[in-house]
């Protein structure tokens, strides 16, 4: 039971309840925020949606960090390749 999709919070329940309207590229659905409300959710935030509930707030800084790490891994290899091509006595 793992299918969970990132969605953007459009609007919170005006009555102050747990339900928010969340958008996934143009499709909207009500999502229950009970599991993430304590962290403070505002319109514009991204949440991970699973069977109608938000399981976690998506940490944008962490997402960026992961992408950086990924780029870094590829980069290291490219650097080594460049050094290899440049020949011995360099780098």
């Amino acid at each position: 039971m793992c299918l969970a999709i990132p969605g953007r919070v459009l609007a919170l329940d005006p009555a102050g309840g747990e339900i928010a309207r969340v958008d996934v590229v143009g499709v909207t659905r009500s999502v229950n925020l009970a599991l993430v409300q304590a962290e403070g959710v505002a319109p514009g935030d991204w949440v991970l949606i699973h069977v109608g509930f938000a399981m976690a707030k998506i940490d944008e800084a962490e997402a960026r960090a992961t992408l950086e790490a990924l780029r870094g891994m590829g980069q290291i290899w490219d650097d080594e390749l460049d050094a290899l091509r440049a020949g011995p006595g360099s780098g």
Binding site: M1, L3, I5, V24, V25, G26, V27, T28, R29, I49
Partner: protein
């Protein structure tokens, strides 16, 4: 041959065997347009009717009548809900049958319309359906010339079912069919896929999803086909992408012609909201029904003019080349994912059930 390859060979042989209907009762899977439907048609209906023209299983039958070639087809419509963004059962009933004629290269001429109406159904709704049918037929230059009406007791029918049959004239010296498809051909699609199926799924209301910009794509494709055949004589095969989606059609073509079809995932046009709904529900847009889109397989050399002809027509906005036909793997459809990997696109057994997991 490795152990894995031996198993793959075994499977290929098993799939080539004649289909057998094992179930004792019809299930919803039999109506989804995938493997179960195919097995039902081949093992039950083809067996019973035994006709060489029928056995070709094209969207229409092309009949020789004297010097003329007539295309003949029929389709039943059981959509729920009856009225949805972009149209109603009436639009589907007319356009669906006309499209089956159009993809045979036939100019639509005449339709029959039969109605099975449930006791208690609102007359005003029936009027709306009939009006939609009249408008759709008129727009296509076709006439509804005969019909039938039956009423069933309350509870024995889902409001209203409509069945239409259509007759058209194949004016050009053209023979379209899956069996003519060969290596080197290009695969095109006439616009973004999945609009109709997702619109219906959302209109049912029980998934609590909303997409304000989404409408059913129901439309009569004859004008588009007419333009296409005018400029691209190398068209091998046209198919109306309805129940089962583009994936089902590509599989039918791959099997009929024993070719391999390779699709580029990144090239398949899908509207954002359709994509969003599919991601949320875990469905693949390739299997979602359309009602006004066609798959075009054309000689590679004619691919450019064909695509241009589609794109400049209002009905072909968003048309794209999505793949190529090759010799390998015979009878299978492969997808080159946007990520760069490769996987099979097989026929689904039943409905594309929303995957939760």
């Amino acid at each position: 041959m490795s152990a894995e390859q031996e198993v793959l060979e075994r499977i290929a042989r098993a799939r080539r065997r004649a289909p057998r209907l094992r179930e004792e009762r019809i299930t919803m899977a039999h109506g989804a347009g995938g493997k179960a439907t195919q097995t039902l048609v081949e093992a039950l209906f083809l067996e019973a009717f035994r006709d060489p023209l029928l056995a070709r299983l094209e969207d229409q039958a092309v009949l020789g009548l004297g010097a003329q070639r007539l295309a003949f087809t029929t389709d039943a419509f059981v959509v729920s809900p009856l009225f949805f963004p972009g149209g109603c059962i009436g639009d589907l009933a007319v356009n669906g049958t006309l499209n089956d004629l159009a993809v045979g290269g036939a100019r639509p001429q005449f339709l029959s319309a039969s109605f099975i109406v449930e006791e208690g159904f609102a007359v005003a709704d029936l009027r709306r359906i009939a009006a939609a049918m009249a408008a759709a037929a008129d727009a296509a230059g076709a006439r509804i010339v005969t019909g039938d009406t039956k009423v069933v007791q309350r509870g024995k029918g889902d409001g209203c079912y409509v069945t239409t049959a259509g007759v058209g004239l194949v004016e050009r010296d053209v023979t379209l069919g899956a069996a003519t498809v060969r290596s080197g051909d290009a695969v095109l699609v006439s616009g973004p896929i999945g609009d109709h199926g997702i619109t219906i799924m959302l209109a049912r209301g029980d998934l609590d999803l909303a997409a304000d910009d989404l409408l059913s794509d129901t439309a009569c494709l004859w004008p588009l086909v007419d333009d296409l055949l005018e400029v691209a004589p190398g068209v091998r095969c046209l198919r109306d992408a309805t129940r089962g989606g583009v994936a089902t059609i590509l599989n039918e073509i791959a099997t009929a012609a024993q070719v391999g079809v390779v699709v580029e995932e990144g090239a398949v046009p899908v509207r954002d909201s359709v994509r969003g709904a599919c991601e949320l529900l875990g469905i693949d847009p390739l299997y979602v029904a359309c009602e006004g889109r066609m798959v075009v397989v054309v000689d590679g050399a004619d691919a450019e003019p064909a695509l241009a002809a589609l794109s400049r027509h209002a009905l072909g906005r968003g048309a794209a080349r999505i793949g190529t036909v090759g010799d390998e793997p015979p009878g299978l459809v492969l997808l080159r994912t946007q990520f760069g990997g490769t996987r099979i696109v097989d026929l689904l057994v039943g409905d594309p059930l929303p995957r939760i997991c």
